[in-house]
Symmetry: D2
Subunit: 477 residues, 4 copies
Amino acid sequence: MLTRGEQFIQSLNDGRKVWLEGKDVEVSSHPAFAGTLNTISGLFSMLDDPDLCSQIGFHDTAQGKFVHYSFLVPRTSTDLTKRAKAFQIWAESTSGVMSRLSDYARSRLTGWYATRERYRKYDNHFAGKLASYYEEAKARDLFLTAVQRDPQINRSQTLGENPDAVLRVVGRNNEGVIIRGAKMIATAAPYANDFIVYPVARIPDDRPEYAHMMIIPANLPGLHMMCRESFAELTRKEDHPLSSRFDEMDAVLFFDDVLVPWERVLLHDQPEALWSIRTNEASNSLAYHQSIIRLQVKLEFATGVACAIAQAIGVHAYINIQEKLGELINQIQTIKGLIVASEASAKADEFGNMLPSFEYIETARNLGSRYYPRALEIIQTIGAGGFFQVPSTCSEMDGPLSPFIHKYLQGATNSGADEKVRLFKLAWDLIGSPLGSRHELYERYYAGDPMRNLANQYVSYDTEKLTDMVYSRIASS
Amino acid sequence: MLTRGEQFIQSLNDGRKVWLEGKDVEVSSHPAFAGTLNTISGLFSMLDDPDLCSQIGFHDTAQGKFVHYSFLVPRTSTDLTKRAKAFQIWAESTSGVMSRLSDYARSRLTGWYATRERYRKYDNHFAGKLASYYEEAKARDLFLTAVQRDPQINRSQTLGENPDAVLRVVGRNNEGVIIRGAKMIATAAPYANDFIVYPVARIPDDRPEYAHMMIIPANLPGLHMMCRESFAELTRKEDHPLSSRFDEMDAVLFFDDVLVPWERVLLHDQPEALWSIRTNEASNSLAYHQSIIRLQVKLEFATGVACAIAQAIGVHAYINIQEKLGELINQIQTIKGLIVASEASAKADEFGNMLPSFEYIETARNLGSRYYPRALEIIQTIGAGGFFQVPSTCSEMDGPLSPFIHKYLQGATNSGADEKVRLFKLAWDLIGSPLGSRHELYERYYAGDPMRNLANQYVSYDTEKLTDMVYSRIASS
Amino acid sequence: MLTRGEQFIQSLNDGRKVWLEGKDVEVSSHPAFAGTLNTISGLFSMLDDPDLCSQIGFHDTAQGKFVHYSFLVPRTSTDLTKRAKAFQIWAESTSGVMSRLSDYARSRLTGWYATRERYRKYDNHFAGKLASYYEEAKARDLFLTAVQRDPQINRSQTLGENPDAVLRVVGRNNEGVIIRGAKMIATAAPYANDFIVYPVARIPDDRPEYAHMMIIPANLPGLHMMCRESFAELTRKEDHPLSSRFDEMDAVLFFDDVLVPWERVLLHDQPEALWSIRTNEASNSLAYHQSIIRLQVKLEFATGVACAIAQAIGVHAYINIQEKLGELINQIQTIKGLIVASEASAKADEFGNMLPSFEYIETARNLGSRYYPRALEIIQTIGAGGFFQVPSTCSEMDGPLSPFIHKYLQGATNSGADEKVRLFKLAWDLIGSPLGSRHELYERYYAGDPMRNLANQYVSYDTEKLTDMVYSRIASS
Amino acid sequence: MLTRGEQFIQSLNDGRKVWLEGKDVEVSSHPAFAGTLNTISGLFSMLDDPDLCSQIGFHDTAQGKFVHYSFLVPRTSTDLTKRAKAFQIWAESTSGVMSRLSDYARSRLTGWYATRERYRKYDNHFAGKLASYYEEAKARDLFLTAVQRDPQINRSQTLGENPDAVLRVVGRNNEGVIIRGAKMIATAAPYANDFIVYPVARIPDDRPEYAHMMIIPANLPGLHMMCRESFAELTRKEDHPLSSRFDEMDAVLFFDDVLVPWERVLLHDQPEALWSIRTNEASNSLAYHQSIIRLQVKLEFATGVACAIAQAIGVHAYINIQEKLGELINQIQTIKGLIVASEASAKADEFGNMLPSFEYIETARNLGSRYYPRALEIIQTIGAGGFFQVPSTCSEMDGPLSPFIHKYLQGATNSGADEKVRLFKLAWDLIGSPLGSRHELYERYYAGDPMRNLANQYVSYDTEKLTDMVYSRIASS
């Protein structure tokens, strides 16, 4: 019998159009995807493992099997803790370097599902369609990814000025709606079974053709996924322990008049409903709860790299280096504290869903966009020239230069050249490889423009209680 | 019958030597102290108020009266919440601008008291002396302040190189020990009943004469408190709502061969014990728990000022201003989250004391040294020239220039010139007055050198679990 | 015979309306202005000094006397060097802490004068009126100040939405035009003989009533100067060596239907001409050339304070302190280099005026808005608690506490307590007094919103030569 | 007849031992070096070009041919300008992305040569050996690189604690000295004809065995160059316009008891002389003059990328983007100004060499370590997700997805998809490729630890003139 991981890989042989280097490639067999598929497959198969399955998932009575905790609608604090633990295990298995393992998008789905009754006023079919899809995704272990943004054509234009700039409905018939346009950035697109597509910006009431929410199977005719350059290291895997395993890939989706069947058109022509979908607190809280848990693991990993390097070259005793490492520890503790606070302040919503407090989650997420780049900068600062004081491949450590390497590339006490070289290579993979650079960009931007996100913390805050403190001080003067 | 506040003021007429502008002054009657004494007196009298007493304090059966929560040895999570609430009320009453209201030092004392048995191995009398003093302080509502640092003479010298550089024991007799030297910075010294004196640095084993912990009554013969320039605004109080009420004062203490009675000499000649006192987690957690609660209120107040100004001049709609205000909200939420986390992660120690988690408290405290200066910088940035677009005194708003002021100094909708002028004056008192400048310095340094504090987060952290993540990634490559 | 300084002070007794603390005060005799008047008077009298007069000024044959170099129309590189030297001497005499000694505004005037023919197309009288005023200002050593900004009422309104928000012409007759409104911030207003008033923003063509440039004598009927709170230290001068001498004062000008005579109405109803005035490169280059020379002296002074403190307490040997002091040296060298570059790259304009290169001047000016606040922050960081480890007044060093002060407040080798205490007091006056805080704000904002100023460096730059480098690289790939 | 470039390539077939991916490779034919060799060859051949030769070099009468300006001993300001122009042309030809084209090391050599008489007191042979080598290097167009640093083994050890940690003399005989150890980072090692080897740190007098200065021909027996991983893009050149041409390569040099002939041992066993070599102002000024000219071109290129991207996606109209672009312009102007200042302030030394002012050069160099990373950060910020909204290869723009690419990846007006895609690919090569990441690290560290470099600006500055300003202010109070 196939493992869940194997089933997942098989599921990708569905006729999808994935374009890489000018060719329409088969994901399951192309070498550029092999390392990552192997990683995902291993994670999915954890649910087959009797020891792990109950940490990663819960037993779904309807399905008669364990399903991943990202599908769990939390009703108690314990549920939140279990979700958190599952996210943490996956994140630790991937050093926090894989951001879109579908636990984020599944959590989004779970959040909407848990509050689906709220949308009955917009569309009577929504709740039913969504529940049905949720059950299917859970039953089939579907790998999901959410795609919200529009192509970056001309950011000074207004919506509709260039009709091609935003994905839109161009027709509809008995079977469904026909959509045309493009969407970016579809992270992990080649690995996805389905895309959840909806707009990130608020659509004005007079532009309903842009206000839709759809589930798009990856193999719908007319859908093309155009991949960016692969960052997967194919040959020197030992020298690139991250790039050889964790390239999530990003793609642009082109919709060449794609017909989306009605049962996958969750909402259409509903600007107000779409804004509510976008700002749905259950969906946001559950999804970003996953994000910040992953963030914490990634920061721990990066901090571990910084500490290991400092210790390997004996600079960890200097106060100015300690200050920088302390700053990284401070970052970890801040995010960890905000996770704890979000869970400790969880409240039940009107449907009885126990939601982690979004105010702390949002705060942590916004800090992350500065913390992760700072961590990379500190690793640079500590390692300095050491990143280039390594042989081009690990195998050379046993080659003709071996005696020199072991003598001159050794590290401080207890750290032999072998360990030190591998450490610097891993670190360079994190800070200097295309995969590493892409992750810096990812952490800055995955949740949108960080400037706007900070601004939103002001806009959505009840500042009156703050200004009241000020005016009452004035009044009492 | 005297209120607790009045009793407190009376208690300062004890023969203490407080020097200001070259004169030995009486604290209770000198105008430089009047505003602050009035503030403290009001806070102390809250325990007389039937509505407030149970929020600020607990009923102490031994004393038969309410005493401040800073004296409460926390045994449950609820105890922590109560302590927190009491700190918050005092902080809100003073806009977070008074840092040393004795709740910090009392919490330190409570922490040592709660773990006093740990020190029996160093000195058999310690536990008894401390318990006795704790009871007295509680019974008499004593205003305490902790003084740890040495004069800033030559930071490149080692301990003992200049014998005058560090307070030391120069004699001892039947009554007590005789000490000579100076200590800085004694914040709130003129208002203190007792000083808790001990060294901030680790004393080497061969220098026991520097390793002492004493309770020094403010009126001991030979003790002189030399005040810095007063920042209290005496005349234009309306224009300086903070400076006219909240000058804590800082002083240097000179010890001119002061005899400290044995019952107040808690430890002496014990380098190891003193380092344990200094790093006592109960004392640190309880004291800095108060500090970060006050920090949060202060950040809320500063953020309130920033928001009020932005709204008063109509710039709050600009995204770049919103970003800055959002950053301030983010700061508040971060500190608030860390407070929640410290309480949610509280654990009982071996004596059953329920202690808030120091790792989150330390993290918040270290962030504070950057957050508060940043808040002031943002207020500057938003208010810009507006701080000087006000009449020299509030009273002028009703004077000959009144029509011009009301027409040309008005603010955005709903904000008249009167409110706007007072707002900018309050803001300037926060960012531009000597009191305000002193607070910026205070937040940076009150807990010691921020560089060293960050470094300590590294030094005291179990980095092995972080580097293990890295080396196991390497091993699996 | 009166010195030039005495003549200047006398000239202020001209019936002007200066309001301070609700009263219409006489500038020449009010104590709040005495220290600053004494400073300005000393600077003005340098032209009477046979040794100094030729460094500060040039012999004007028309006048038969020396006049300040700020009035010199530069025709050669040497002229620029002489102007620079004169600015430097005044700046060094005031530790760079007085920003508006009229050399800035006089330089603006000189720049417009030198290019006056350019404006003939807008108004045939302009060149004549300006030349006549320039000669008068030079002949009478007039103290000038430029006032450009509008009251900060509602920054989200557009021009004209609130007619009171911007100074405007409300009438005209044979004698002149009648203006109504307010202007801010009139730095040094009480000391000014004349105000040069014109708008800072571009006035749209359909709003000519806001497009005027006038010379306003300080004593025109209907003109009121409302001063902010005085920052001049009146009593403890020794403890406040800067605040007791260098308060420039800021004021809001109220124009209560002031009649400005035609010969002082240089331009009116000319939006395009006014924008040309505002962006006049000769005026900008000459004025900001003075500004950055003063900036450099101020940065040197602040860096001197930082170095002196570090040395006084023996921390200058630590690498982390050296790094900060090195950063301050780097700031000084950067500004100095840009001054050198601006002079070395000077070019003659179409009238033969030798103008320092504005591109370097603008760059230095924009850096200044970040450099000066950073200098203050570093002084804070180095001095730390030491600012409060001083007696309230210098005189106490000879009082009853004298032996303790001299023993415990001494500094590192060679630095006695007396010098160290005075050093920290001077430093506090720079970083902690209202005067010091006001200067931080001044440096950030005197040239306008620093965000907009940086943006302007992009907007006014020929980026095509930069993007060409990129596209030619692409083309050659 | 061979071009100079061809001769250069031929010269590398000299028996050198260059190790890449475990093999001893031939530089002139291995694909990893082809792109870079082609680049260098083109630059060297400029001297063959009748139009360019006089911009790049001067006619050397002894040689009867043009030689590169880096060999010119400057005697006049014009000489400096010519040197600067030559450096600029090479830098612009390589977008500032090749840092070590031997013009830096040749300038170092020229500086020592110009001041060689200063070293006669240490070793009577020095001047003759150096002059002879200088002439040879000039005659043969030698590609030089300087290698100064020791392996990063344990930075907390002192010199000599681990004898293998620092390159040292282990024997000497009639022919020369025998050296053992390693040196890092030998940038451009595979392309070098000779290495100039000397210690970066001050060698104590009792450790003369570490105090040597040698010219090491690349093919000396026993010398091994161990290359890091190649960053040269071999296949997708069009997608990586920088990585396919400009990989300088870095190597560690292993010295396996290498015999260096006496005529190449310029100094030995001379700690004091070596420190003088290291701090030789002529050598530093001339070499870093080249560095900051290259820096400026690189900053212009990076700024060009930022501007081009902003314009291509229509965000250049937003004030917050303009602010960031303005910051980049400000960086360019600052460095440019400091170059101008260094040349305008040039002075002749005691030998009549006209040296650019090192104080401005050092200032610019130290700023560069922060400016370049900041430029990359801003490019990230502006491009955001756009870097991944491109096809994996440029050729796809003409492939099956062509219509979608041209419709949905187009840019703002006038910028077609083709240009926009190539722009983002070039930008990603600059900020996200290993070559790009290596350059960020290079700019931070090529001149040593930036913290120490800033500290040195303090240590080497005459702070007394600054503190005098302060103490004279105090004295006059």
